[in-house]
Symmetry: C2
Subunit: 359 residues, 2 copies
């Protein structure tokens, strides 16, 4: 592989970062395994309460003495549109009946989200987590300054060149460029969701020409071919989501892993139906059912709260049709391996490919 200012700064052996997939996959076991194998493990902390977060950080510290990171969702303001919430409940009602769930979701508020976010940041600071990345927006200058003063490396997410520039201007140490290929939620925050769907082969060089902070390429990269391509384009490291999601140590459900392993790239779709925010995953009945009403749904995180019961029940019943099966556009490259096996193969394939290409 290769070393550079980014791997040196992060104190990692290989330029491989495990994407901070919130909602289950990033168990302490996964995070520690990645860091122990020479990459950077990341806790996807977006949905964790501050006390859950503290617990997991301490658990990871028990499992590795290497560097690791966490990722937080930056809350943005949203409206409590009663009409949209009512409409969404109507649309979800037949599915709730089918799955035999009757839940009264607690509608979130921006104020509470912001409180939680500030507490999460406090935990990160108190626990001296080596790396803290953000998605869905930029935190305040105060927070960025605080973290940096505490020697915590800070990073943001961008889906356009404009957003990459904003990350640099905000003082981020590096930026994750999320290509349109990426699984899970879109990190777009300044452009609109459609504008932020740019393929990495376009996004990386255009951003690299405009910013000076190191670039981490995220989206569709699952093996040595993607990693070397990202390097050619101007990236300093790669961030792998789906590849780690299907690993043995990942906490993703067996249903989720199986759905990815079986999928082809043309079954991976964009949807707002699960959370109110655009995200990429394996197509299923829930996405198909909600498709024509997507524009009427309440925004993130309200819709996310409304579908929680359905997703939980579907998972309990072993039914993949109503779960968010987040995945990037390269499911055919997914392999059931341990983290150590995946990273070993990655390194070995990179050396082989470098020699074979004989540039």
């Amino acid at each position: 592989m290769w070393q550079n200012e980014l791997t040196n700064g992060l104190g990692i052996q290989y330029p491989i970062i495990q994407a901070p997939m919130a909602g289950g996959p990033t168990t302490s076991k996964l995070v520690a395994a990645v860091s122990n194998a020479g990459g950077l493990g990341m806790i996807g902390a977006g949905y964790l309460t501050p006390s859950q977060l503290r617990e997991q950080i301490q658990e990871v510290k028990q499992l590795t003495d290497k560097s690791f990171g966490i990722n937080l969702f930056v809350p943005s303001n949203y409206q409590q549109e009663e009409q949209k919430i009512k409409k969404a409940k109507e649309l979800l009602s037949p599915i709730e009946k089918e799955l035999n769930v009757a839940l009264t979701p607690k509608i979130p508020t921006f104020e509470k989200d912001l409180d939680t976010f500030h507490e999460q940041v406090r935990v990160v600071m108190e626990e001296q987590v080596p790396v803290c990345s953000f998605t869905f927006g930029l935190p305040s200058q105060e927070i960025i300054g605080h973290l940096k003063n505490n020697s915590i490396i800070v990073a943001g997410t961008a889906t356009t060149v404009h957003e990459a520039i904003l990350n640099e201007q905000a003082g981020m140490d590096f930026v994750v460029l999320q290509g349109s290929e990426a699984g899970g939620h879109r990190g777009t925050f300044e452009n609109n969701a459609e504008q932020g769907l740019i393929g990495l082969i376009s996004l990386i060089p255009q951003a690299a020409d405009q910013i000076n902070i190191p670039i981490i390429a995220a989206g569709g990269i699952m093996d040595a071919r993607g990693a070397l391509a990202a390097k050619c384009l101007g990236a300093h490291a790669v961030q792998l989501g789906t590849a780690f999601l299907v690993c043995e140590e990942s906490g993703a459900s067996p249903l989720h892993k199986e759905a990815i392993i079986k999928a082809s790239e043309d079954q991976i779709v964009l949807t707002k139906a699960f959370s109110g925010k655009m995200a990429r995953g394996v197509n299923n009945r829930f996405i198909e059912t909600m498709k024509k009403n997507e524009h009427e749904l309440p925004p993130y995180p309200i819709q996310n709260e409304l579908t929680k019961g359905i997703r939980k029940a579907s998972s309990l019943y072993g039914n993949p049709e109503f779960i968010s099966l987040w995945a990037g556009q390269s499911p055919r490259l997914a392999k059931s391996l341990t983290v150590q096996e995946l990273i070993n193969q990655f390194i070995q394939d990179t050396e082989t490919l470098k020699n074979r290409l004989s540039f």
Copy 2:
């Protein structure tokens, strides 16, 4: 750069193919300049009558003794939906008034399209064009066999792995993988348009694992970084559209070239409004105006015929707001150069980058 079975088969010096952009850009001067500079020039013949096609082929032969190619649109069946045509005319009417055009478009039919296509193929055969590629579908086995028996190299376009496999099974000598980044019309023919929007960093390796014919990567590639990335991913050559469209020799209108040079990647959008088929270009008033009615428009090529007058008038008035400004997702990399300058710089940058990366 690099040589391989594809460059050898095509008889070209560099693995650089000029995308066959139909509708104006691919003048004989452009095509010949690319071939003379060591790449493969391609006539975008989709909209040419058989006699125009013959004329241009003979013109190109006067300007170069190197190999070159042409690209044809494979017609697919469509309905004459009177309701949709009426609706489209209503929607276009205020714009026609604004631009002072009153045209009675000739509604095309599948039967006539098919006749034209067969005549185009006959011209290609009679003129012994070295390379013939197809988009929007696969031609019949008879046509493919005929061309190959006449020693013409045949190629198809794919936007999913499934479509790439179909191209190989049909006997194509190579396949162009069109990533979601690509400008102009989507070549998707077997999957639906949304399924065919896969970033090259995902599409190339997944296709390379499934097919044995050489791969040409198309979409968002404009310089050495994209070319080397495509090579890492498994491509044998790259096809450049936007990069050649802005060249001096290209027949694209100055308005079109200027719109690309000025654009940022987040202004490049997908639209069906101009032609009834999904295509990528610089956002403008026409796209914005038609956006919410896109699903009601008649299919390609009917809508294309209906908007012809508007596009022509807008162009005549020097107004970029109602022209199809096709472009890929990397407009920030566009440079006003001659073909020779572009290719020289490409080759030089590739050598520099190879050395700098020190793989």
